[in-house]
Symmetry: C2
Subunit: 310 residues, 2 copies
């Protein structure tokens, strides 16, 4: 059986509270006593019981990172960055995945209400949109911060990429290269990200003098297609086999080989900066700040330009 404070107290011929204080470096413990306790702790291999500590302090020293699946960089890159930040501040960050499963999702949120973590970062997935549990959790005052996506009707802040700025940058690059038309594949109803990008695309095209056309529009060699992810482009290509876009601009990586003769612009998001922003929002909440719906927008990191191959 693991040693407890009680065992140490017996070994040191003193009281449990003295041991507790000595181990936590309480200034009013004599150096001799402290040394004696430290020796006994090492000797007996004492490890504090975190459940007991959490019960009395009400703090678990833990933050959760909630996400759908680990495979996507949009999820795991902020998670890793946030883990470092937490660690540096004495908290453990644990990643919980629900792999798009409703019951798993519900259960994880349930756990959060049971005190397993002091706060949570959430890389929003489809399931979060309609989740009553998530709403209740936020309403209960539990510190929640969203990453990348923002649920507007929820009293919880978010750290996202500056979607408008990113779209503007892509449109500018297209204009620079002589493109006159953009076909937008964003689905504004899908989530807040696609919504923001759609709006920004309209504004950017207006400002920079490009025509904006819907997915069904015919293509020419001065028409580019813009989408949130490669998957949207792939679907669009598959929907009408003849399509040969002259340029693809996405907020994502293009997997493998781009279509022949096609310029590809990949926007690289700054996930580390996003995690840092989310961390700031979270510590504010942990420190007692009231819930807000603030959205911190961090600039993108770079645009990768992949010239067309012949």
């Amino acid at each position: 059986m693991p040693a407890t404070l009680h065992d140490l107290a017996r070994a040191c011929l003193c009281n449990v509270s003295t041991v507790s204080r000595a181990l936590r470096d309480d200034p009013r413990i004599s150096p001799e006593m402290r040394a004696k306790v430290a020796a006994a702790a090492a000797e007996l291999g004492y490890r504090p019981n975190l459940a007991a500590r959490a019960l009395v302090t009400g703090r678990s020293g833990t933050v959760w990172f909630l996400l759908g699946e680990l495979s996507s960089p949009v999820n795991h890159q902020p998670a890793e960055a946030a883990a470092r930040l937490c660690r540096d501040h004495g908290l453990d960050l644990l990643v919980a995945t629900h792999h798009g499963d409703r019951t798993a999702h519900r259960r994880l949120l349930e756990r959060l209400r049971q005190g397993v973590a002091e706060g949570a970062l959430i890389a929003a997935s489809e399931l979060d949109q309609e989740s009553a549990e998530l709403r209740e959790l936020a309403a209960s005052g539990f510190p929640l911060v969203f990453i990348d996506r923002h649920l507007p009707d929820l009293e919880a802040p978010a750290a996202t990429t500056d979607h408008a700025g990113a779209v503007t940058a892509l449109v500018a690059l297209l204009a620079e290269r002589g493109f006159a038309t953009v076909v937008g594949l964003h689905q504004p109803g899908r989530n807040s990200v696609d919504h923001a990008r759609t709006q920004a695309l309209e504004a950017a095209c207006r400002t920079q003098g490009l025509r904006l056309l819907p997915p069904q529009a015919p293509l020419d060699e001065r028409t580019a297609v813009m989408a949130s992810g490669a998957f949207q482009v792939v679907d669009w290509l598959a929907a009408s086999p003849g399509r040969q876009p002259a340029a693809i601009a996405i907020h994502d990586r293009w997997p493998g080989q781009p279509p022949a003769g096609c310029l590809v612009l990949e926007l690289e998001q700054d996930f580390a900066a996003m995690a840092a922003a989310a961390w700031r929002l979270l510590t504010a909440r942990l420190g007692g700040a009231p819930p807000s719906s603030a959205v911190m927008q961090v600039p993108h990191r770079a645009v990768h330009i992949i010239p067309p191959r012949s």
Copy 2:
């Protein structure tokens, strides 16, 4: 403040223990009482305090998955599969990352000794090789199961791919396609995986009549190169710029574009099966079975053959 059993007891005009039993569906509670308690719990939004429960039961209902970084499929694919298995058995699987940092690594192992989890799956990284804390943890009887890699001097079982079988399959495919020589890039001293592959490669070449040569050997059009990961091949190519292998066989995906005129064989490991095997080993330990050093080897899932492009 969140409602407690005490609050429910007051609301129901009964004792705490009755409430506790009613909520846990104890058979000796009258239907009326059970309904009354359930109503009060819903009314007051009662949520059990897991810290308190863990303190008295000694069980946290949690399993950890320890890994270096999330980005690698070798890590996150088994993690996701294991999460599902755990969930189906009433346990939560949480992923903890140490991103190759010694202090983070030490700290996570420390947490495990403090009762945060009932057991842990470990996707072994470099840090685990020399970690004294890991040895202590295993020695303390904590249920530990390794995934993919195996630390032979540790009293902990492992679930790995059948490395020997995989190497044999790759060599057979090469032989079938007329290759006569294999250059082996595995580094037997690196870890147990590379070690096993090196041995299997020697055996397979002997059996199937191919010549096995070291990395410095000259190449011809009937010579293939075999390595654990793409990174080994990339390093090897960079070390001597003239090299143009006729085939590359790796236990991994080849990122992006293969070299011109080069056949690529990618071995796909069966991470789901690996997770299932690891889960079996872990439940055995959780169920009270003594620690063992058993290694369960699961067959690979497929070999992807990418023909040379001209």
